[in-house]
């Protein structure tokens, strides 16, 4: 039970980092950590309920959460690339 509350505090710590982070990449890092902290939260809930099918949700959550983040990161880097390259060719 205590684990539950500690996890809640950690979750909010990551969210503040995600909101406060200066660059986009800090925000994505915050998002990534929130996703993995939430999975641990689900494992705790599933073990309290002691129903094993609740863990299916944790697997789906892990897969879809991370794939969302992977594509966000991929497309962020693609778009700024040409701007960066122009700056390099500039000077």
């Amino acid at each position: 039970m205590i684990v539950f509350w500690i996890l809640a505090v950690l979750l909010s710590a990551y969210i503040t980092r995600a909101f406060m982070g200066p660059t986009i990449w800090d925000r994505l890092l915050g998002l990534n950590l929130i996703a993995s902290k939430v999975i641990v939260l689900i494992i705790v809930v599933a073990s309290i309920y002691d129903m094993s099918f609740l863990l299916d949700f944790a697997i789906i959550y892990a897969l879809s959460g991370f794939i969302g983040i992977i594509f966000l990161a991929l497309f962020f880097s693609k778009s700024r690339l040409d701007k960066k390259r122009e700056k390099k060719d500039g000077h």
Partner: protein, 109 residues
């Protein structure tokens, strides 16, 4: 949270260690200044924390479907977590996010 048998005790100790790790992970987020050291430390500690959590809960539940599914989650997380950190760091570097030290050097020179 009465602890019935020895297995639960070991499980609780390992979960305690996992929580202890994760608190350091959270602290590292705010102490480190630039993005790259932060992502390195946070995702590594995060994976270790998750690993100890899963093993702790596996001890608490003994050999059952619950532990089986826990290990499926463990495999997925052990593969995906570092992979996402890699993608993040690579795309951050690709899109021109210099290290703080490099940036200062650049301006100084």
């Amino acid at each position: 949270m009465g602890i019935e048998n020895i297995w639960q005790l070991i499980g609780n100790i390992i979960i305690g260690f996992g929580v202890f790790c994760m608190i350091f992970g959270a602290v590292s987020l705010f102490v480190l200044k630039d993005f790259y050291p932060r992502i390195l430390v946070a995702s590594k500690i995060d994976t270790v924390g998750l690993l100890s959590f899963v093993i702790g809960f596996a001890f608490r539940h003994g050999l059952s479907f619950f532990t089986g599914k826990l290990f499926i989650i463990l495999i997925i997380m052990l593969v995906l977590n570092p992979f996402v950190a890699h993608i993040l760091a690579r795309s951050a570097y690709r899109s021109g996010h210099e290290l703080a030290a490099e940036a200062e050097e650049g301006e100084k020179s």
